[in-house]
């Protein structure tokens, strides 16, 4: 099975005569015609993986178009390790050249603006349209700037969220490195659900580690949480005590009384009880499914997209699959690993419907590793299957506070090794 493509397959079939001809022909949903066009919106863990598996296993019968404005993708996972100085920015940034060169995925470097589900078209930022036989939306999250008074896209240049990796992540790292000893960092953390449940607390560890390495002895990190408990709480609280004593203070709503306005000009955060002056403010706002999925009417009242548990197909439109953070995936958390796992189930379901591959039973997995300190890592995860129409945890597991040091060191080594594997699984 070769994935090298003829010139004709690699042509850009956007707008123009080719598309007009395609649309003029009678089409039937995912029938095994000469070329079934599958358009993937979003080139992250869900989108890149599903594009690769569809192109790899679909052969000449499928045409895979990946709509993603970025030339290279910076992963949210391990972006905290960049903040901690464990990884370089280049280590967490990956191009699409293998997907296009080795697998024949067509990378359209445009932002997808809207979906017309009746016309079966995706409208791009430059006004052109791409038609599809099947659409896969893996748009990730939209950060809700308006949810916090005083916060905005502009304010995020000063008070970065860094919850969509890229320039935001660099801003936060640069601000962190510019701090003098004695600095006060405030982090605002949202209520559930949100992308990467343990992520904020790993970030606290990595920021504290970076400050220690910079020689800080009196800088402090105050976490203003919008929920009363959080993922791997016992493990993180133990790590803060063990590795970063006196540096981290975590406050649930019971203690701070609620988050008020933030002010990017004065670097202040209001709670119900006080106004806090800070030297660095990391605002992680509430989130919803990527706007394109919501605007297309594919989300329900939760702001996320319901999907069928055995295929990741939208319950609202059978011609659309929704992957990753934008989907409501039952017991699975919103993580890159989850999106990668869902993508492989979705690819099999689509290729099975096209009679290109047999249909295999859906099985999902997830693991979220968190780095606590050098040679100290923990993980939480599970194996999931469809049950009564819902993706349901069959087994779950979590690291334990009383684990010996070698176990933690091994878990952290796994964390580093896992990254290499999932990147190869996503991008080839």
């Amino acid at each position: 099975v070769t994935n090298r493509l003829s010139i004709s397959r690699r042509r850009m079939l956007i707008a123009g005569a080719a598309t007009a001809g395609f649309l003029a022909a009678p089409t039937h949903y995912l029938r095994a015609q000469a070329r079934t066009r599958i358009v993937v919106v979003g080139g992250g863990a869900g989108g890149a993986t599903v594009a690769r598996y569809l192109a790899r296993d679909g052969g000449e019968q499928v045409e895979v178009i990946l709509v993603e404005p970025k030339e290279a993708f910076t992963t949210c996972f391990h972006s905290n390790l960049y903040l901690g100085g464990v990884k370089d920015f280049d280590d967490i940034t990956h191009g699409y050249d293998r997907l296009t060169g080795d697998y024949g995925v067509e990378h359209v470097r445009q932002r997808a603006e809207a979906v017309d589900r009746d016309a079966r078209e995706v409208r791009l930022a430059d006004g052109q349209t791409v038609s599809y036989d099947h659409l896969i939306l893996s748009p990730g999250i939209e950060v809700l700037y308006d949810a916090i008074e005083g916060y905005s896209e502009d304010a995020a240049q000063v008070m970065p969220h860094a919850w969509i990796a890229g320039e935001q992540t660099r801003i936060l790292r640069d601000q962190l490195m510019a701090l003098e000893d004695g600095a006060k960092i405030v982090m605002i953390v949202p209520a559930n659900p949100y992308r990467c449940p343990p992520g904020p607390y790993e970030r606290v560890c990595m920021m504290a580690m970076a400050l220690q390495q910079q020689g800080h002895t009196s800088s402090r990190i105050l976490v203003l949480d919008q929920k009363e408990q959080f993922s791997k709480q016992a493990l993180f609280e133990q790590a803060w005590e063990r590795h970063y004593p006196g540096i981290v203070e975590w406050q649930p709503p019971l203690l701070h009384g609620g988050i008020g306005a933030v002010d990017a000009d004065t670097l202040t955060v209001e709670t119900d009880l006080e106004t806090i002056e800070a030297d660095l403010v990391n605002v992680i706002p509430p989130q919803l499914a990527g706007r394109i999925a919501r605007d297309a009417g594919l989300a329900n009242e939760t702001g996320y997209c319901p999907v069928l548990a055995d295929t990741m197909r939208s319950t609202i439109d059978p011609r659309v699959t929704v992957l990753g953070d934008a989907s409501i995936a039952g017991d699975m958390p919103k993580s890159g690993f989850s999106a990668n796992s869902q993508a492989k189930v979705a690819a099999n379901a689509i290729l099975a419907e096209l009679a290109i591959k047999p249909a295999f039973p859906a099985r999902y997995a997830n693991t979220c590793w968190s780095m606590l300190a050098e040679d100290d890592g923990v993980s939480v995860g599970g194996v999931y299957v469809p049950q009564d129409g819902r993706i349901t945890a069959l087994q779950t597991f979590i690291s334990q506070p009383d684990e010996e040091f070698p176990v933690r060191r091994r878990t952290q080594s796994e964390n580093i090794g896992w990254y290499e594997a999932i990147i190869a699984d996503m991008f080839g």
Binding site: V1, Y53, D102, S341, A365, F397, R410, W418, E420, I422
Partner: protein, 122 residues
């Protein structure tokens, strides 16, 4: 798995391995009993093995060395089958692998062992 390792001749080599699966694991027993393993069923066994290996590929770099996570490619099939069976029955401890393996049937483990044994190099 990158395209380079899966293209061209190696796929044809794999088919030999998949024939072994048909016999050794009793996969698609009826076909084997009839002594008429067709190209179609051979393809199906290969597709299933690749699908399973896809589940592994979230964590394991298949075909190339990897830090921190043990290789699952290029092992003697019987050895991989033993290891996965031990994860399944809990005699070998790893939280994620215990959870993953608990889902696998004997046939699936054998299929995976045969398939991954043949994957070498990038």
């Amino acid at each position: 798995m990158a395209g380079g390792r899966e293209s061209g001749g190696r796929e044809s080599e794999k088919k030999g391995g998949m024939m072994r699966i048909l016999f050794s694991a009793g996969f698609l027993v009826g076909v084997v009993a009839a002594g008429a393993a067709t190209a179609e069923t051979d393809d199906e066994a290969l597709a299933f093995a690749r699908h399973m290996a896809g589940e592994c590929a979230s964590c394991h770099l298949i075909g190339v060395p990897q830090p921190g996570i043990p290789p699952i490619h290029g092992l003697d099939p019987a050895r991989l089958v033993d290891i996965v069976a031990q994860y399944r029955d809990g005699t070998r401890q790893h939280r994620l692998m215990n959870a993953i393996a608990s889902n696998y049937t004997d046939e699936e483990i054998a299929t995976l062992g045969e398939y991954l044994a043949d994957v070498t190099g990038r």
